[in-house]
Each structure stands twice: as C-alpha cells, then as structure tokens.
C-alpha cells in the first residue's frame, strides 16, 4: 500500500490526473469519465436537435402556402414522423441525461458517476441507434407512420417496407441508454454523495433527477415491450395487434402512452430541476418550500402515470373511465402550481437579477404557463373530442415541451457554460437570440391554437385555400423561421463563447452548490479531495467565503486527498443519512464499452436486416462482453477498513451490503419486472377487450414439463439463497456446489419452458397462442441467463474474488435467481390458470 498524503496541491493534481485522465487521439474513444461522456451526450443531442429543427423547417415551408407542391405526402410523412422522433428520443432525453451525468457527481461531491463504463456504453448505443434512424432518413426509408406508430398502420400489411422496423429497432437500441442512465443516476444519487449530505441536504436538482430516473425505470419498459411485440408481429407474424386474429390495436396505444405520457414529465422534471437550481441563485436567496417541492415532484411523478388515456379519449372508452383520467389529468396541475408559486415566491422575496439565464427562465414562465393552461383544457373530455389530433394539440405540446424543456435548458446552457468551458461571454448575442426564439416561438404556435380550432387536423401535408387557414399557416411559418434564426444565433454565441470568451472567474453567479467548488473547466477527477457537507449550501460553509471550500478541497484537506495503489476512488454513503459507508472503486477509461456497443449494434442491425443467425450470435457475444467487463475487477483479498482521510475509515464497496452494483441489479430487476408486467397486462387486456376471442384452441400445458420447471426454479432460488449464507460464503467448495445446483435448477426450468413452448401449436394463429409463446420465451431467456450467471459465480469464486466478506458477486447473482424463479412461477400460473378462469 502506497499511501501518499500530498499537501502540495500541484503534486496531488498531477497524481490524480494521471490515473483519472483519458488518453488523447484515438484513446478518446475509450473515455468513460462523466465529464467527457456527459459533454458528448449534450453535444450529440444538440446535433440531433439541429436535424429535428431542419425537419421542422421543411414542415413549415410545406405548410406555409396552400396546395404547396414542395413535399409530397410520402416525404412529408417521413419528415413529421422523424421530427417528433428525433426531438423526443434523440434530443430531449439524451440532453438531460448528459446534463445529469455532467453535473450530478460535481453537485453531490463525488468524482464520477457510479458506473462510468455503463455511461459510455449507453452513449454509444444512443449514437448508433440514432444514426440508424438518420441513415434511414437519408436513404428515404425513414419511418412514416407518425412518432407514435399506431398499429395497424405500422403493421406489415400497411407499412410493408423497412421503415417501421427502423423506428422500432433504432428506438429500442437508443432506449438502452435511457435505461442504463436511469439506473446509473439513481445509484449515483443514492450512494455517491459527499459524507454528511443526507437526503434533506441534497440539492433540489438531484431530487428532480432521482424522481425522473425512477420514472424512466418504470416508463420505458412498456414502450420497449410494445416495440418488441410489434417487431415480432412484423417479422414473424405473431399477432398481438391484428384484430382478425385476437390482437388489438388499442393494446399498442395503451403500451405506448403508458410510456408516452410519463415521458412528457420525464422531460419536464429535469428542466424544472434547472429552474429550481438557477432561479434561486439569480434571485439571490434560497428557494422557498424545499420539502414542498420534493413532495410535489414525487406526486407529479406518480400522477403522470395516471394520465395516459387522455391521449385516447376518442377511442370509445366509457365516460366513467374517461372521468378517472380526466380527473387525474387535472390533478397534475396541483404539484405544478406548487412549484410555479415556489419559484415566483422566491423571486418575490429575493433580489432577482435580469441576467441572460434569467431571461430564458422568464421565457419558461410565459410559455409553460400557457402550455399548462391548454393542458388543463385538453384534460376536459368533451373539449378534447373536438381538438384532439388537430393543430390545437400541436400548439399545446410545443408550448409544454419548448416552454417546459428548451427554455430552461437554454438557461442552463448559459448558466453552466462558464463551468464547462472556463470562459465567460464577450458579446451579448444571447439576448438577441432569446428575443428571436421567444417572439418566433409565440408567433408560430400561439395562433396555431386557432388553426386547430378552425378545424385543421395534424399530419396533413397540405390544404386548400377554401379552408380559411392560409394566413394562420403563413404567420406560423414566418414565426418558425424567426425562431430558427434565433437558434442559429444561439449556436454561434455558444461557439464564440467557448472558443473566444474571457477566462471566467470561479463561481461567477455566486452559487452555493458544490459543482462550483471545482476548477473551471473541471479537472478529470472533479475534486482533489471530497468535502464533508453539513447544510444545503455547502459553498457558504467554509468561513463564509465561497472560495475557501474550493481551496481547502484542492489542497487535499477533505476526504480521499491522496492516491492509493493507483486506484480511482470516491466515497459511498448510506442512502438517507449520508453517513460515510464505503470506498467505491471506479474503473478507468477502456474501449470495452465501445466494442460492446458495436456488437450490440451488430445484433440490432442483423435483426433489422433479418439475419437472425447473426443476430443470435451478436446477442450471445454482447452478454459475454458485458460479463467480461468484470475481468480482473474486484479484490482477491479482504481489505477491511481503509483510511479515507480526516481520521475516518470505511470498507471497500466489495465488502458492504449496499454496494452500488448490488443496487444496480435491484433497479434493473424493477425495470425488468415492469416489462414483464406489461407483457402480462397485454395478455390479460387482449383476453378481456380484444375482438375474436375466445381463441380457437385453449392449451392444456404439459403437467410434467411444468413440474420440471417448478422444481428447477425452486431449486435455483433455494440454492442461490444458500450460496450467500454465511456458512457457504466461508467455504469455497460449499458455495460453488450451491451455485452449481442453482445453475442446474435453471437448466431444468429452461428445459421445461422449452418443452412448453414447442407444445404451443402455430403461434401465428391467434394472439392467445402468440402471447403464451412469448411469455414462455421471456422466462426461458431468464432461466438461460440464470445458468450463465450461476456459472459466472463459480468462475468468480474460483478466481478468488469471493470470500465471507466479499460476497457482492454472489449476492448480485442471487437477486437474479430469485427474480427468475418468481417470474417463472407467475408465467406458469398464467398459462395454466387463465384458460381455466377465462375459458369458462
């Protein structure tokens, strides 16, 4: 052990930078550092924003005049579909993921995110998946069924080409990054905070991101399940959405909007987090109602999952059911209002400064307030019947998303740009950009409400001059070009500031959150030593002058102000209290996330091109590569308590129960469980609602195969529990034996499930057979992975990574084994029970 206690800040910086930095040249592709990956997410998101923006300009150019021959319907349909898709999936979500990745560790007082390689992997998945969509667009093969891909229009019969497949596969690829980011954000906020930062002392931005990430964890799986089912229907003709064979197009709508409406709040909450962070600083007082805001964020998150049917008010659902959703949709106004008035109250009792970011925040108030009000109108059932699918809705959603996301994000850009670049602006182009965007936006979309009320539906590529919509559309188009010039000017301004701005002084806004305690731009390791936090305003703590804490930390006078064994270390805390709990070791830059993402890309592209053999190989190799991430990773000997400086000690993360990776598995299983529940919901929904039921044949699944699966699953769960019992952990042969039993159990279950699957007669005949088949395939896949994970546990144990103290690997595995047993048993219950209950 080579403990170095460096008091010389320069020497400490050099030591830390050597191990945290990323190689130059091609080595940049190996970056996993959150500052770099976060920045990449942000820049890439803005590139996609540019593409989405150009598509928007094409739409407005086409609609500027009646009977325009500029774009035909074939092109126009691709353009509006890709505009929505790019803005929602390739711009908004990745942008705030990038912002969160960049900011969270710095705000929380950590050196990196919990899973840096996962961030990099997510980034590459996002870039590759997004590129698939853009390549499709360039080749003229882009999806053209609207960004919510309603079936049957998006089914093979009505969209025979590859277009819809590009959407389903590209977006699913991109969603890997959303799910991985969600897990990573939650674990980072839970565990990687500066000691002393209990949840009630956490910056509000972290609360917003925590709730957002949980929403992503539960919101994205239904979309992924829906996309996978639709792709299976398109590729293999298993009917889930085809009403002639017991499917139902409404199932797609439920799955899509079950994701789609929370999605709007997933986009809004990070932006509101920016509001709650930037606004108090510029109002020069702390935000009022901290706990009120926390409560309203949580309330909003839950309520937003109860609104999805307000996108389906016209599908013929009974009034009483609509009333539930109408009520829930109006209820969401309450938490919104609480936050709105907390912000206004903060401004009213502070001394607000009209600086550039504040201008954009005011833009938010104006635009979002209007979007919120029209949102309440749309929640009103009869009114919704009239304006649904018209330009009124188009106007509303742009008010909500541009107001509730883009304005705060532009404020964030100007607010944190000095932090990103170390430079402050030389010009005031930003003010001009603001006014162009603001005026252009309102010019485009305010009168668009009227266009909708005058009967113009969305998604029509032209209109005739008798309709009375000519001047409205012309004004909208002019406004949109004004707005586009504003965004162009914003881009120029940012580039100028980054390349030619003055050196910024540290903490230019007088903020009190920890990210401003780093140097600007931040060093690779963020903090030379980590702070101990005692309040919500850590920068005011050290002697009252904000710079002192920064200097103390740079001098190594906080926690971990040294390099130990060349390891990258940061601290982990207890979730609620923020008490010091563990020393978390983080990985350094590596190419393996990039390579894994490439192989994952091989899988997705092969599915797209229907090379299923290659796809299967790609899948297996991807799993193998993901397991390879852990090679040489971990400890081969117990370390026990380690010094963290300031006279305190903590064990390494491999020796505590609440290690980050253990939490990641738990959260991953939450998402997995949501996907599984969506699948089960789909089956029940079809049974109750879909036409052409009951099915032509009810299955009587083999009792023998089912019993084999039950016994196998029970054995796997039991053996997994035994393998992490203290007695087994202490003795290698014993724990390896239990792991072998777990693996064998999964193997038996797998065999049982495969027998049951092969007994399903022609799953293309009816949705019942298809759903049964897919449900069994889902649990079979989990059992197969269970075999792999059990074997992997044995490998880790053999390699010396497991001891009575270091049981992390096995405990992570045990979670999987238990979970697989649970979903396997539920599947058996469903396939045996449903025909009996519903068949009678």
């Amino acid at each position: 052990m080579t403990d170095t206690t460096a008091t010389d800040p320069i020497r400490l910086h050099k030591q830390l930078d050597r191990i945290w930095s990323t190689a130059p040249g091609f080595g940049r592709l190996s970056a996993v550092n959150h500052t770099i990956v976060g920045r990449r997410f942000i820049v890439t998101a803005f590139v996609f924003f540019g593409i989405g923006g150009i598509l928007a300009m094409l739409i407005r150019a086409q609609l500027a005049t009646p009977r325009s021959a500029f774009l035909g319907p074939e092109i126009y349909n691709q353009v509006f579909t890709m505009h929505g898709t790019a803005m929602m999936f390739l711009f908004a979500i990745p942008l705030f993921e990038g912002l969160a990745m960049y900011l969270l560790p710095k705000m929380l007082g950590a050196r990196d995110m919990a899973f840096p390689r996962l961030s990099a992997y997510g980034y590459w998945c996002y870039v590759f998946g997004g590129s698939m969509l853009i390549i499709g667009l360039v080749l003229g093969l882009a999806p053209d069924g609207g960004w919510f891909m309603y079936t049957p229009l998006s089914s093979r019969t009505y969209t025979p080409g590859i277009n819809a497949d590009i959407w389903l596969i590209g977006i699913t690829f991109v969603e890997i990054s959303a799910l991985s980011a969600a897990i990573e954000i939650i674990v980072t906020i839970f565990k990687l905070r500066a000691p002393g930062m209990s949840l009630d002392k956490m910056p509000l931005f972290a609360w917003y991101m925590l709730v957002t990430a949980f929403m992503m964890l539960f919101g994205f799986p239904p979309l992924i399940v829906g996309s996978v089912l639709l792709e299976i229907e398109r590729a293999f003709d298993l009917p889930f959405f085809d009403p002639a064979r017991g499917g139902d197009p409404l199932l797609w709508q439920h799955l899509f909007w079950l994701f789609g409406h929370p999605e709007v709040y997933i986009i809004f909450l990070p932006a509101a987090g920016v509001m709650s962070t930037v606004l108090p600083v510029l109002a020069r007082r702390e935000i009022i109602g901290y706990i009120w805001i926390v409560v309203s964020i949580v309330a909003m998150a839950f309520l937003s999952f109860g609104l999805w049917v307000h996108h389906m008010f016209t599908v013929g659902i009974p009034h009483l059911a609509l009333a539930f959703f109408s009520a829930a949709s109006t209820a969401v106004a309450f938490p919104t209002a609480v936050q709105f008035f907390a912000w206004i109250g903060t401004l009213a009792s502070g001394r607000p400064q009209l600086k550039l970011p504040m201008l954009f925040l005011l833009g938010f108030f104006f635009v979002f307030a209007m979007g919120g009000l029209t949102g309440v109108m749309l929640a009103i059932v009869p009114f919704n019947w009239q304006v649904h699918d018209t330009h009124f809705v188009v106007a509303h959603l742009h008010y909500v998303l541009v107001g509730g996301f883009i304005f705060p994000m532009l404020a964030a850009a100007y607010y944190w740009l000095p932090h990103f670049s170390g430079r402050s602006p030389r010009h005031s182009l930003g003010i001009t950009a603001f006014w162009l965007i603001f005026v252009g936006f309102n010019l485009t979309f305010l009168i668009m409400h009227l266009t909708g009320l005058l009967g113009m539906p969305r998604r029509i590529y032209t209109y005739d001059d008798a309709a009375g919509w000519e001047w409205l559309n012309l004004v909208s188009s002019i406004g949109s070009f004004v707005m586009a010039i504003g965004f162009a000017l914003f881009t120029v301004d940012i580039v100028l500031q980054v390349t030619m701005g003055r050196r910024a002084k540290r903490n230019p806004w007088g903020a009190k959150t920890l990210e401003w305690a780093t140097a600007m731009p931040p060093p690779t390791y963020n903090f030379a030593s980590l702070p101990s936090v005692t309040s919500r305003t850590p920068l005011t703590e050290s002697g009252g002058k904000s710079d002192n804490l920064a200097i103390d930390l740079a001098r190594g006078q906080g926690y971990l102000g040294f390099v130990r064994d060349g390891r990258l270390e940061t601290l982990g805390v207890e979730i609620t209290s923020g008490r010091l709990e563990q020393v978390v070791r983080l990985p350094n830059s590596t190419f393996i996330p990039l390579f894994t993402a490439m192989i994952t890309g091989v899988f997705f592209v092969s599915v797209l091109l229907k090379f299923y053999l290659v796809a299967a190989i790609g899948f297996v190799v991807t799993i193998a590569m993901l397991l390879m991430w852990t090679r040489g990773w971990g400890d081969r000997a117990d370390r026990g308590l380690m010094s963290v400086g300031l006279g305190e000690e903590a064990p390494p993360h491999t020796e505590v129960t609440g290690a980050p990776s253990n939490w990641a598995m738990t959260l991953g299983l939450f998402a997995n469980g949501t996907a599984y529940a969506s699948l089960a919901f789909g089956m029940l929904f079809l049974w109750v609602v879909a036409p052409n039921w009951p099915p032509p044949v009810l299955l009587d699944p083999s009792v023998l195969a089912s019993a084999l699966a039950v016994v196998g699953l029970a054995a796997a769960a039991f053996a997994a529990a035994r393998s992490v019992a203290p007695a087994a952990l202490a003795r290698a042969p014993q724990r390896e034996l239990w792991l072998a039993v777990a693996g064998a159990g999964h193997g038996a279950a797998l065999a049982g499930f495969v027998v049951l699957m092969t007994a399903v007669p022609d799953p293309t005949r009816h949705a019942y057979l298809a759903a049964t088949f897919v449900l069994l395939a889902y649990v079979a896949l989990h059992a197969a992975l269970g075999v792999v994970f059990a074997a992997y546990g044995i490998v880790r144990s053999r390699a010396g990574y497991v001891s009575a103290l270091r049981s992390l690997d096995l405990r992570i595995g045990a979670q999987w084994h238990r979970y697989t047993a649970a979903i396997g048993l539920i599947a058996l219950l469903l396939i045996h029970g449903l025909p009996r209950v519903m068949g009678s």
Binding site: G289, S349, P382, W385, H388, L454, P457, I460
Partner: protein
C-alpha cells in the same frame, strides 16, 4: 370547418366550454404574469409574504378553486354528449377504410341502403353512428357538428350526431391513416324531413359485406 362556427348541439356545447375556459385561462395567465412582472418591477415585494401564502394559496387553493367547478361542469356536460342508446334514434353504420367512408342506413324503409363519402341525415333529428374500420385506425370528425371519434378495426365506436339546420357540413379523417390521409374527406348533408326520405329512397341497397359492423364495442 370551424369548431366555433357550430351547427349542432354537441359542437355548440363544446364551443361554449371553450369560451368559458378561454376567459378563465386568460385571467389566470394575466394574473400569474402580473405577479411575475411585479417581482422584477417592485423587487422584494414578497419579502413580507409568509411562505405558506405562496404554497398553500397559490399552489393548492388557487388550482382547487379553478379546477373543481371546471371538472364537475365538464363531467356534467360530457355526460349529456354521450349516446343514449335510445332505440328511437336512427342508426347508421359507418365503415372507414383506406381511403373512403361507407354509410349504411339500417332503418331505411325497404331494406338497408348505402352511400359513399356523403352521409345523409335529417336536420333536427339525432342520428347514432356505429363506426368501425376494416383496415387501419381512422377518425370520424365533422367539426361543426360534434367531436371526433376513432374508427378502429375490430371495435365499434358510437357517436351521436345532430345538425340543427339543413346544409352541407364537411367532415374529414382526423387520425393519420397513410399516404392519402388528406383525401379521406366526406360530407354530411342535412335535409328537411321530406327531402331526406327522397334522398334515402334513391340510394343503392347495401351490399352485405359492409352491412353490420362486427367486433366488440
């Protein structure tokens, strides 16, 4: 095509809902923006205001006062717009397909008759439409008469329509349904009682395949 230039009770009821909401929204918007402006033009204006005023007053009481009556009014007015299922109301089966509307008049004297892309109704009389689709999802919408409802394959949706006065009202497909989505327009012709019978009498008989919509409601 305007939803505000109403010609039937359903559209009229929704239009008045709109005007009420517009006035309310304008007042709320003006109030909130004025508050916001005050915080800049009269800095520190809220320094003496207790925090609870903002949060309880602005965040809870204010929306409660606005939303409770709105929601109740909306549920009440929505309830009156739902089809009653009254057997006395004339029934027309509507089948949407890419890219055409077919209307089948079940109760016509002398057997069911049909028309394409023009729906004939009697002015002043309600008619119940049973709507379905044979391919993708479409939506039936006559802006001046009533709200829209989707035409979904495998399902039958119901819409009650009434035109107050004779005339021709334009209708269109509101749910994106493919390349010729725009062309999927139709007309609703409302006739005086006598003229209506003549028009219906002149329609061709319905072919069996589009007669009664199948599927679950």
């Amino acid at each position: 095509m305007s939803t505000l230039d109403t010609a039937g009770p359903a559209a009229a009821s929704i239009a008045s809902l709109w005007w009420v909401m517009l006035i309310g929204a304008t007042l709320i918007f003006t109030f909130v923006m004025s508050l916001l402006a005050l915080t800049f033009f009269r800095p520190g204006i809220g320094r003496g205001t207790p925090v609870a005023w903002w949060l309880v007053g602005g965040g809870l009481a204010f929306p409660a006062v606005v939303l409770t009556p709105l929601l109740i009014y909306a549920l009440w007015s929505g309830e009156r717009l739902f089809p009653t299922g009254d057997p006395a109301v004339a029934q027309v089966d509507v089948v949407a397909r890419q890219w055409e509307w077919t209307f089948t008049y079940r109760n016509a004297t002398g057997g069911a008759v049909r028309s394409s892309n023009t729906l004939h109704i009697q002015a002043g009389q309600p008619v119940q439409l049973n709507i379905t689709s044979t391919d993708v999802i479409h939506a039936f919408w006559v802006p001046r008469l009533a709200g829209k409802i989707d035409a979904i394959p495998g399902h039958v949706t119901v819409l009650q329509l009434k035109a107050d006065t004779p005339g021709v009202y334009r209708g269109l497909c509101a749910e994106f349904c493919g390349v010729a989505h725009l062309e999927m327009q139709f007309a609703v012709e409302a006739h005086e009682a006598g003229a209506f019978d003549a028009v219906i009498g002149g329609l061709p008989p319905a072919t069996p395949d589009v007669n009664a919509p199948r599927g679950r409601p």
